[in-house]
Symmetry: D2
Subunit: 333 residues, 4 copies
């Protein structure tokens, strides 16, 4: 069975997903929609698909699934419309910045028995997947502590920061999902510290640029997340998972792995400087997983509930910073 | 000038310091005292020094300085006696497990204008020193985040745990000192999570075996400490310091750095399995620094106040766990 | 300008090049030919191109360039036919196993002012390219010594060995090209040792499986090549280049870079186990370079003369082993 | 039993051995001799031993063993004198620069049933020892190829070069010994290339500064040695041993293992810049091994015959360079 796709949104991330869909033997890109006709036409020309309106894709008989890459504030509405129209939905994270809106959206998905996968692409990074596979194989015994380092090469424009929902909802949310993916048990308590160290303008916009979060589950498993909007040496994305029998970790990735040695020492090049080159394989693999799940009739993960859970952790972290205390997840959800 | 030493305590750590003193061209080991005569005699035989009582060393004209390696509950008393006797004092950490007792002791030291150095040996590890040197050189710009990983190969006997003052005062205290050493600014807030994951007997003794701590300074600098009483792969001692211009980190150390590659992959040997082999160079270097400071008439660091500050952070972490909230250091000191 | 391609040979490597051509915005795959119709048809179906005979591609007006992926013993004939037909030619290495046949072929290419690029794909590996770029930037000063390690995960079937021209012409030839690429000066002397350590059947077929080669240029620059048909830990492909001012090296590559640590030590997964996954990026980049050279009207490198030079080094190595002496390249070419 | 030592030669390496002897519980340094009285007196003062003449040590009843650290041209004579005097002898390498002189000396040793250990200290480096231990444990199966990289931070003075016997006898000799130590089978063939790339003055003195050597055993095992008198990044000392079942390698060593990351990349400090800091542990361990062998009544290795074999390989390499051919060891010994 070939899964027939409509693409909603032809921007930067839309192009990435267009390539992934067309490169998958089990899928076909049928149509693309975008508020900017030129963007949609460029993708249509490159991959030989049609340009259509969102309404037309919604009503189409020749489309089984959509990939939603439109602006964040349209995600929840589009998910509801397309699951109602009977399409399987892959939606870029986040579903929405409001916890209540996400809950309402997921109720619609459940009511319609819709199929929804959320774009937490990092679960599909081959290195992080391999970390999880080692846990599943029992290589490290019962998981005890997860340590996530996630630092961006540089801060986004303050204008973006303002619309982003803040660092916990925008950046840490990936790490919250990763912590859940690796802990294997729901988080029950959250505590965070936050500061503005990189750019005062970020503080002026009401956000933070340097945060650290501790998570704890009911059985005592723990996770640490360390975030910064600044890393001069590139896109710092590391994971380590400590278990009763050992440790598994994923190293940073660089585009070129050479080393120059001289009187100043041994120097390797900086890391990737952009999330789209760092996670190239992950973007392709998440779409492949979505297609494979649809083809097999399986549930696609990460689900809408995973999206909700990560957002709830962001809410808890914000509340922890505001109130200077440990926040129980039972206060949030 | 040769500094003439008396050694108080001839146990495991006493032997290490005896070797350091005798190996230093600027010092001479004159006498050793221990409640167990055989222990003192063994050191006396090996290094050609005298066995004396503590009282005799206290009264001796031919001794300028002492190294206190006796049980923890004698430290504060001995510090007071020996600074009163006009000797320079190097004391193993901690000064005492009680914050009040430490404060009282330091008042005596100040009143007597005594010279006191506390044995936070890790400041003298060549790798950690080099991390600090890079900070001082400006290699990473202003410090923003310190990440300390400190995991023991295995838990000590529960009997030891009971007398230890708990993991924060016994184990994390080294990391509190290291965080202060690297942050370059006093910590103002502490929050911690703690769990029993390694051994229920540790929990039964009222202690934890797996803890994580966040520290924050007034200007927003942050530090994370991750501790466990278990690390199957050896003594895990890593530091990374993120600054405005870059990152400096110290890797783990292993006794032998070979690698075997075959169908199972590439395998390097485990790390050091014992703090005394991991920190061999640090133990020698701290005594050398004490001797150098005495010879030069300089203040010896880390000072008694450093010992107090680290203990206060342990108190704050304990309070944070007990009350589930961020604790301000102004509540403790 | 779009370069229109014919593909000669639809086997394993043909498929790789088909993907590279179709994925390049500057090119179009027009037709494919193969003695096995099913193989050609599979590629035609996947990429929407025609199946044609070799003769038809030779005569076609709508084809500018061909990629030759047919068996080795057809390469020289096809190069001559297609340069005569006015097509640009990319030919998989080697041009031929006979030095004389290569020389004759290149005379035809020159006479016809043909455009010929030879598939030494490793020059296009991003890591090795970066090594060369550091040399060109002057990072290591004048090149003095090149060290090439090239070990295959396992020996090919003896049947392949028999047709391969032997290890120097089949396997080391890549390293000879790499040495020339990095030395920046022609080799003047060759000496080699060779042994059968992996499989006596290889010896029975008149070949070796474990060889080491020293190369020297007129000015004294040196290169070492170490080859084996066996590497249990994966596809071992390392380069180091020592210069007057420093060293630049390229590390091995593995598909997944995680590490598991436990009582047995720290283990990273094996390397790539197959040249086609190890050199995925290189295969795409060499075709892109060919297309770019054609579009720009530049000479495409590595050239036919590069192919000849590498084969001549293989001849010299064979002669060195046979005669137990240093062979001067002036004896060969 | 305590082994009582005389030290012949109180220069740089003499001091290293004095420290090793005095630090060993099984030994005592009784006397030191040196043509320069001040040098001998300095050691005597530091370690509390006597200054004596060589003749007096030769005749002494209270001395069981000597360590010979005098100039190279006195080694063979002193070995003969002291084995004749019934002392066990540890002699710094080389025994002599002349193969004939070494053979004659070893005949005396054998005739006197003398005990002689030669100072190939690298066998005692903990990392290289661990490589050998993995071979002995069978971790890599039968040894097939040994790759030795040995590059000095800088060239010695030309005056030293002139007296050194040339790079093969002075520098490569360590690597010849290491190759023998790791191959586990005698070398039967040698071929080498040599050049002057670092300093023309070395060439003017009749020596080379950049050499590469291939060794082969009767069964086809191979070794490569790569030497240079220049390495801007420090003292480059690497070993890899490939076997039928895997690879074992020893990494380079640096005094401090930190890493600084910024926009220029990830930089670790240079390696050790001096053989005495690189091989600190090896120097202590070789003397400990000598003492242990004497105490146990075992043969001390590496033996005089090991010294002869390494020198013979140097002769063969020189002959290979001179004659441009593979030299069989049967031509030399």
């Amino acid at each position: 069975m070939t899964v027939r796709f409509g693409l909603l949104g032809a921007g930067r991330i839309g192009k990435v997903h267009a390539r992934a869909v067309t490169g998958d033997a089990g899928a076909r890109l049928v149509a693309v929609a975008d508020a900017m006709p030129a963007a949609a036409e460029a993708i249509a020309a490159q991959y030989g698909c049609a340009v259509r309106s969102i309404e037309s894709i919604e009503a189409a008989d020749d489309i089984d699934a959509v990939v939603i890459c439109t602006p964040t504030d349209t995600h929840a509405d589009l998910i509801e419309r397309f699951v109602t129209a009977g399409k399987a939905v892959f939606c870029e994270k986040p579903i929405d910045l409001s916890l209540d809106r996400v809950k309402a959206c997921l109720q619609v998905v459940r009511a319609r028995k819709g199929r929804l996968m959320v774009g937490f692409n990092r679960r599909f990074d081959p290195h992080f997947r391999a970390v999880r596979a080692e846990i599943d194989k029992g290589s490290i015994g019962a998981v005890e502590m997860v340590v996530i380092t996630s630092r961006d090469p540089g801060a986004p424009p303050v204008d973006y920061i303002r619309r982003s929902g803040g660092i916990f909802r925008d950046m840490t949310i990936h790490d919250f999902d990763m912590a859940r993916f690796l802990l294997g048990e729901e988080v029950s308590e959250v505590v965070a510290t936050a500061a503005v160290l990189v750019d005062p303008a970020i503080g002026a916009a009401g956000d933070f640029d340097s945060v650290q979060v501790l998570l704890k589950t009911a059985s005592g498993k723990q996770a640490t997340i360390s975030n910064s909007r600044r890393a001069t040496y590139g896109y710092d994305q590391r994971i380590e998972v400590h278990g009763a029998k050992g440790l598994v970790s994923a190293e940073n990735q660089r585009p070129v792995s050479i080393e120059v040695a001289n009187g100043a020492g041994y120097t390797r090049p900086p890391l990737h400087d952009f999330f789209m080159t760092r996670y190239t394989e992950a973007y392709a693999a998440e779409i492949a997983a979505f297609i494979a799940a649809l083809s097999a009739g399986d549930a696609a993960a990460p689900s809408g509930e995973d999206g909700l859970a990560a957002l709830a952790l962001a809410e808890a972290a914000l509340k922890s910073v505001a109130e200077g205390r440990v926040v129980k997840m039972s206060e949030i959800l």
